[in-house]
């Protein structure tokens, strides 16, 4: 037995690892059932309390509730992050391929437009519509064909064509980055769970929105023009007053102590629970009394709850019409590894909108070596900006893109000439992001939807059922046949195929891979490959037995002699998988990935797992019947 100990431990450890990797998937399934029940009871309650509520309002409330339940318990979140993800074809949702229309951007960059360049742009756009060719290259090529230098329309006279092309390409790239940022920002605000946004190629962005029912709304959300605003942040006194009012109002509703006693108590003496009861608002929107600003800090899990509060008509009545609460776009990570958002109270009407911005640039200040973002406005905007900044010295102005705050710098003094510098970025990366945001309104490149797929949840359910059903039936039939045909050997094969399935699922979970319908097909085919490996080995053993070898040496020879055939055939299939992974798109890649993982696992199961089990059986003197 000693000789097998190491291999045995290895195998058991691997089985353990895979069970560990798959546990969150099971846990998440249980959690989801629990949450579903909770939500359905809440839904009934809401309907009883408010029978006239419209379907949309109800769904919105429920989705807020579900969000807060999901983030409230870290173990829920943990499980759902680590489970085997299902593709849109299985769980339903919307898949969009967006393309940044860089033609509009180029049009905007042309200096002294005339008919020639307009015609060239139109021609280039027509070609770009059906091919994936780069628009800048197309335009450059067309200009060069006509022997026109690029500097006639872009850049300046001293620059060579190549320099201008490089610059334009950088602009184009920039536009795609901007579009991606805008889309990410909006999708995150829209509150889709587990959205997936990824760039594809030079100009495309893939957006996957699971469980979306309102397609049109989602599309508008993605395609609409970015709205960049500069809004005045309200004074701390004003803000705290409103917050106090909301807090007391909520405390009364939830049956906390009445406001007078709550006021008399100093909050320090209260236990956490009591504080939560008496100050339901401040318990989640934490303000620092020492700070000169009244920005509230809100933990990630409480953002949905607060938005829910603000959506209530009774709370809305306490907030003046001309102001609104807005959250920061990105959270800061605290020392305890929690994500915390800032909440600001700003004027609803912006002081200025982003169209006035001509350019923005992130840099390192040579004097202080801290990152700064400089921003240039057009002359009209510059005048306006001078008036605004002059009137609001020492106040803060929030930079808001599509409703979330990216930064809220303090106005140091009146800014004339339209050139401003924004300090306070933590690092250059953050400054770059701000640069992108500031340019969002300035150089819009419209986003076109070039592919759109929506899978209803019921089709997804059917597909899961059919996929799992075929897998189970295939496995049982194949297993029974192996058992019947190879007897003892067949039972070992059955075990090895079963563990192959377990390993594939475990590794998919470990890689955070997404299981799609073609992925399930890939798994079913892996069963085929696993069967083949076993058949080759057992047929070979039978041959070796027939040639007069002892059982032990026949088993050994069976493995050794089938080695080359199995390796060669699996490597060739692996090559197909790799190419498919490289050239395929989304769902097909899922198929290729499961196929590749499956092949590696098959080799492991056939040559390590089956072999150890058979060797141990031989060593223990058990009877092995190969049929």
């Amino acid at each position: 037995m000693k000789e097998f100990r190491f291999k045995l431990i290895l195998i058991l450890a691997f089985i353990g690892l895979n069970l560990y990797l798959l546990y969150p998937t099971y846990q998440d399934y249980v959690n989801t059932e629990e949450i579903k029940q909770e939500i359905s009871t809440i839904s009934k309650k809401v309907k009883v309390n408010n029978p006239t509520i419209s379907e949309l309002d109800l769904n919105q409330q429920l989705s807020y509730k579900e969000d807060s339940i999901r983030v409230s318990n870290p173990s829920y979140k943990n499980a759902s992050e680590k489970r085997v993800k299902l593709g849109l074809d299985l769980q339903g949702g919307m898949y969009l391929v967006l393309e940044v229309n860089t033609g509009k951007l180029l049009e905007k960059l042309v200096q002294q437009p005339d008919n020639t360049i307009k015609q060239i742009l139109a021609e280039a756009e027509a070609i770009a519509k059906v091919t994936d060719e780069d628009l800048v290259s197309l335009v450059a090529q067309k200009l060069q064909e006509k022997q026109i230098r690029l500097s006639r329309y872009f850049g300046n006279v001293r620059e060579s064509d190549n320099e201008i092309i490089a610059k334009l390409k950088a602009q184009e790239e920039d536009a795609v980055k901007r579009a991606t940022e805008i889309i990410e920002n909006r999708v995150n605000q829209y509150g889709v769970s587990e959205p997936n946004i990824q760039p594809q190629g030079a100009r495309r962005i893939i957006v996957e929105l699971p469980g979306i029912s309102k397609e049109e709304e989602a599309k508008r959300l993605l395609q609409g023009r970015a709205l960049l605003q500069f809004s005045l942040v309200k004074d701390p006194e004003f803000t705290v007053k409103i917050m106090n009012a909301i807090d007391q109002h909520l405390a009364q509703l939830t049956g906390g102590n009445d406001s007078t006693t709550a006021k008399q108590d100093t909050s320090k003496k209260l236990s956490e629970d009591e504080f939560r009861k008496q100050h339901p608002f401040f318990a989640v929107a934490i303000i620092n009394p020492q700070s000169p600003v009244a920005d509230a800090f809100v933990k990630e899990q409480n953002v949905a709850l607060l938005k829910n509060y603000f959506a209530r008509p009774d709370v809305q009545a306490m907030i003046p019409d001309n102001v609104q609460f807005v959250f920061s776009a990105k959270p800061t990570i605290t020392e305890t590894n929690e994500k915390v958002y800032r909440m600001y109270l700003v004027n609803k009407n912006p002081e200025l909108t982003g169209e006035v911005i001509v350019d923005a640039q992130a840099n390192i200040d040579p004097q202080t070596t801290s990152p700064i973002v400089s921003m240039q406005m057009n002359s009209e905007g510059g005048l306006e900006w001078a008036r605004i900044t002059g009137a609001n010295v020492n106040k803060r102005i929030a930079v808001i893109l599509d409703g979330v705050v990216y930064t809220a710098p303090n106005v140091m003094g009146k800014i004339t000439g339209g050139r401003s510098q924004i300090e306070g970025s933590e690092n250059l990366e953050e400054a770059k992001l701000l640069e992108i945001v500031l340019k969002a309104g300035a150089l819009p490149a419209p986003i076109d939807i070039i592919e759109e797929r929506t899978v209803g949840p019921s089709l997804g359910q059917d597909s899961i059922y059919q996929g799992v059903m075929s897998s189970v039936v295939s496995f049982v039939l194949v297993g029974l046949f192996m058992l019947f045909y190879y007897r003892t050997g067949g039972s070992v094969a059955g075990l090895s195929i079963f563990l192959t399935l377990l390993f594939i699922m475990g590794i998919l979970a470990g890689f955070h891979a997404t299981l799609t319908l073609p992925g399930i097909a890939g798994i079913i085919l892996t069963i085929g490959m696993a069967v083949d490996a076993n058949v080759i080995i057992y047929e070979r053993m039978r041959e070796e037995l027939a040639s007069g070898k002892t059982l032990k040496s026949a088993i050994s020879a069976g493995f050794t002699n089938s080695y080359s055939a199995i390796i060669d055939s699996n490597i060739t299939t692996f090559i197909t998988g790799a190419i498919l992974y490289q050239f395929g798109s989304g769902p097909v890649q899922g198929f290729a990935l499961t196929l590749m993982i499956g092949i590696v696992i098959t080799l492991f199961s056939a040559f390590v797992l089956s072999r150890v089990v058979l060797d141990i059986m031989v060593a223990k003197g058990m009877k092995i019947n190969l049929g």
Binding site: S54, E55, L56, D89, V97, V130, T131, D132, E215, E216, E217, K219, L227, N349, I449, E451, E452, R453, T454, V455, G456, L459, D462, S463, Q466, M469, S470, V473, S474, L477, V478, F481, Y485, L517, A521, I524, L525, G528, V531, D532, V535, E539, R542, N561, A565, D568, S569, I571, T572, T573, I575, T576, G577, I579, F583, S585, P587, V588, F591, L595
Partner: protein, 379 residues
């Protein structure tokens, strides 16, 4: 139990007959390509497609008649996963211009039936949407919600910049749904899927798929050259082209013949073709591996003996594996649902052809090559 143990069939003797069989199958496929072509799915063709599931079984020809009379030209209507499912597809991306006013007036009358006598106006029209402006935000919200319940895709805006507007999508799928709803009011349906693919994606996918398949075959051939001999890789490569061509030919011959069998070339089918290549080469490699082994052991034996012997030795494995995997594809075909059926069919055919081609294309070509060049292949 054992099958095909110690058989001794002279496979190579009958190869000329099977050359004829293979050539005529390929020829038949090519003729069918020329005459019938292939049916490409929405992935490759571009267009709009919706899948509906009715509550009760529905007469497909009735749906077809209804949809062909709504001004979209020739629209394809098929069953989709059983008698309750319908798949509608058109090459169009956007609603034809002449239909637009009619659709707009339909939406207007819907608005009027929700809240009679309210004032609103059309402020913007694009090729796939209409924007209405209302007097106040509440009205806009109610209208937007009700229209959504009625099956329109809407969104509303209420802010300083965009006003109190409701945007209603005007798309092919909306128009189809609206018309089916009107006709089959006693049999309601839910939307299973909705897809819209631009022509650019389709063209790219076509070339990507072709590149993927050809690259896969070439890479496999390179690997085979290293592991075996160059002529082996030629044999394997030809066998792969043979399998792909015959299966593709069957796709061309059989599409549209059976309602149940959806034989259009989709992304899943391309994946199936690549899997077919994988399986077929798997089979070929196993036979080749035995030929190589035999050539090493029986250095003096004739190549004919070595090849025949290898095929006979691997025959039990070939039959058992192919039958098991084949039965898995049968299960997939019947239980895997409509989406996987094309996939299963490809493999169903592919495994038969792939197993056969390992013997009568890949191995036979090596034999004919050595006969012709009178070269002795040695490992």
């Amino acid at each position: 139990m054992r099958i095909f143990q110690n058989v001794n069939i002279n496979f190579l003797a009958k190869r000329k007959i099977f050359y004829m069989v293979s050539s005529s199958l390929i020829l038949l496929g090519i003729i069918s390509f020329i005459i019938r072509g292939l049916e490409f799915g929405i992935d490759f063709q571009g267009g709009t497609e919706i899948g509906l599931s009715f509550q009760k079984p529905v007469d497909i020809s009735e749906v077809r008649n209804q949809i062909n009379s709504i001004g979209l030209g020739q629209v394809e209507v098929k069953t989709f996963g059983g008698s309750k499912g319908v798949l509608v597809r058109t090459e169009l991306q956007v609603i034809p211009k002449n239909l637009f006013p009619k659709i707009e007036s339909n939406i207007k009358s819907s608005i009027n039936s929700i809240l009679p006598n309210i004032e609103f106006m059309t402020i913007e029209k694009t090729e796939n949407s209409v924007t209405f402006k209302f007097q106040n935000a509440d009205t806009a919200k109610v209208i937007s919600e009700k229209l959504l319940e009625n099956g329109y895709q809407t969104t509303y805006t209420n802010d300083e910049q965009f006003g109190k507007n409701v945007v209603v999508r005007v798309g092919i799928s909306d128009w189809i749904k609206e018309n089916i709803k009107g006709k089959f009011s006693d049999n309601s349906f839910i939307v299973l899927k909705e897809e819209q693919v631009g022509p650019k994606i389709g063209e790219e996918l076509k070339s990507d798929a072709a590149i993927a398949i050809i690259l896969a075959i070439i890479s496999i051939m390179i690997y085979m050259t290293f592991r075996f001999k160059f002529i082996f890789s030629i044999g394997a490569g030809l066998a792969l082209f043979h399998d792909v061509l015959i299966t593709l030919g069957l796709f061309s011959l059989l599409y549209g013949v059976l309602d149940y069998l959806n034989l259009e070339i989709s992304i899943n089918v391309v994946a199936a073709f690549l899997t077919l290549i994988g399986f077929s080469i798997n089979d070929t490699v196993i036979v080749f591996d035995r030929i190589r082994e035999n050539m090493k052991i029986h250095k003096t034996a004739s190549i004919e003996f070595n090849i025949n012997h290898a095929i006979n030795q691997t025959l039990p494995r070939t039959v058992i594996t192919s039958l098991t995997v084949w039965s898995v594809t049968v299960i997939l075909f019947f239980l895997g649902g409509d989406v996987l059926r094309g996939f299963a069919f490809t493999l169903f055919i592919g495994i038969i052809v792939g197993t056969y081609s390992s013997i009568y294309v890949a191995s036979a070509i090596i034999y004919d090559y050595s006969l012709k060049t009178k070269k002795i292949i040695e490992f």
